[in-house]
Symmetry: none
């Protein structure tokens, strides 16, 4: 079942049975290698997470890791859910939006869009992004983007992305403390708080919105804010695949433009975000001046005994690599909880 | 699961979820009625096999047989697999490439391309083909061919086709003894050997490649070699659906042209060919000067108790009518071993 967070359920019901393109927008930041800030990846190699996610969802293989035995033993990447859905009910295309990564995914044939963006710096010292340029690239790309199916599912892989999202929203003046989620069950509040405080100190009273974002944001948030505007302008059916990070994208878009018509846009996420008690995605979405559609997949691992998957139900990991929107897409196309659970379990042996 | 024989797995992963046209290229040769050479059909009526295969995969009915009770009791045609996949996850089009058959399939509405080709003679006395003309028809047709889906699956039905394939490859100078498969578990080596020896005796030292093929090949091999070249030239995504016969197509193309860019081409076959111990498809493909992608469907009838289907797992029949590529297509589109097995079983009662 698909549950509503806010907006009009007819938007998502009207996508039932329609074909989708899945695009993974990925970027790396130096912020992600701050110890203890995220558990989205292999300690010491967190910067490879977007690369490995992209390789895995497209090809079923993890290619940019020399020692395959190093894959994490704890919480598995939500990319497993994305790949399982793609195996059961394939997307028409799998694409990469490369927004500046440490290592390019080793993929052939799959369409990978490049924008000349580099991975950004640690926000504690200033992310060093040209936010205006990145934002405008997003707008332009959405205008020209050739959609080869009925709608686009736009996902993200940005380790420590909730930190940059929270920091971006705070810098833009939103009152959003405690409303962004974390890949940890117990939020790493102390470290995160310290990083964010350091980052915000770099902001000048005279900084405009772009100057602020250039210091504390990440390329995914800024580019996709532009992409959302471009997509809304042409009415392209778009599903933002993510939790509070994608809410952050909308908050940025909301600050940089007015009169946004998001009729053909929805945010779709997991139950672990939709029902998360330590974050408030609904409150974040309601800070937008425009109307938003947002839903979550009523899916959990209740049917599994696998301890790694049980961690999701206990609040670890929660979302990423479009897992929530993929579950929604699966439910919209006749997949059931049982078959999805079994397909994910196959990866874990 | 899809397993690699050679090449780049991303080619086939990128076809996941995409739509396909299925085309059956068919021809009959007088060679096929040599007793004991093939078990692909009804003894005495082997020349009807392509016709019946075409009718069955398109319509679900066998029409060009007066006495339906005569259908074989032994190994069922691989067309059952093709039809089962089409029922579970339909192709966008089913088409016939009529390359010269004894009896035209009784089909309406289905697109059937004709090329003014007649069934060829027994290779023991010379096949009597105008190889250059057939080859050029293949190239021209590929240039103009209107693909109405994301990719084309090109299958074959040519009884005793592995004999003409082996003979063609030998005539062109490939060292390929023992590398071509057979529809028999125990290869009919004696008869086949005798037929091939007789055929090769017709070849003159001064014969060029076309003259050789005119004597010992079949229309499917030659036409599709041309088709492959035309398709590669325009970059049309193409799956050659077959085992060592389709490898023979590539070997012919390799001899008749240079600098072939087969980036958008793959050969897909069954596990029974991919893991066959009495033939070597991988070695055949590696004789090509260009890079080839080739895969097989990791599917067998382990989940079935039906004795006729068990014969496949014992090495009879192995491939044909695009069965292997259809299984790959099924796996690429979310079908599982269980559902495919049950669908095939339904035909057998």
């Amino acid at each position: 079942m698909i549950k509503k967070i806010v907006g009009n359920v007819d938007f998502i019901e009207n996508l039932r049975g329609k074909s989708a393109t899945f695009a993974l927008s990925m970027t790396t930041t130096q912020t992600c290698n701050i110890e203890g800030l995220t558990q989205a990846g292999i300690p010491g190699l967190i910067h490879l997470t977007p690369t490995l996610d992209g390789e895995f969802i497209c090809s079923g293989e993890v290619r940019s890791l020399e020692n395959i035995a190093e894959t994490p033993k704890g919480v598995p990447t939500p990319a497993l859910i994305t790949r399982a859905i793609h195996l059961l009910k394939p997307f028409k295309q799998m694409q990469i939006f490369d927004l500046g990564v440490h290592t390019k995914p080793k993929l052939d044939y799959f369409k990978s869009y490049e924008f000349g963006l580099k991975m950004s710096d640690n926000i504690e010292d200033g992310a060093n992004i040209d936010a205006k340029e990145v934002f405008e690239k997003g707008i332009e790309f959405a205008k020209d983007y050739e959609l080869e199916s009925d709608y686009l599912i736009l996902a993200e892989s940005v380790p420590s992305g909730t930190t940059t999202a929270l920091c971006s929203a705070l810098a833009l003046g939103y009152e959003c403390e405690g409303k962004f989620s974390s890949s940890f069950k117990a939020k790493p509040t102390d470290i995160k708080q310290k990083v964010i405080e350091s980052a915000l100190k770099n902001i000048d009273q005279n900084d405009d919105e772009f100057a602020k974002l250039s210091k504390v944001s990440d390329n995914m948030l800024i580019f996709n804010a532009g992409f959302v505007l471009g997509a809304c302008k042409r009415g392209m059916p778009l599903v933002l695949a993510g939790g509070t990070q994608m809410a952050g994208v909308l908050l940025i878009a909301n600050k940089l433009a007015s009169n946004i018509d998001a009729k053909n846009l929805a945010l779709c996420t997991t139950k672990w975000v939709g029902e998360d008690e330590s974050s408030e995605i609904k409150a974040l979405l309601e800070m937008c001046d425009f109307k938003v559609n947002a839903f979550y997949a009523d899916f959990d691992f209740a049917l599994s005994d696998h301890p790694a998957l049980k961690l999701y139900d206990q609040g670890e990991a929660k979302e990423g690599v479009g897992a929530g929107a993929c579950l929604v897409y699966g439910l919209l196309n006749g997949l059931g909880k049982e078959s999805i659970t079994r397909e994910v379990e196959k990866f874990l042996g």
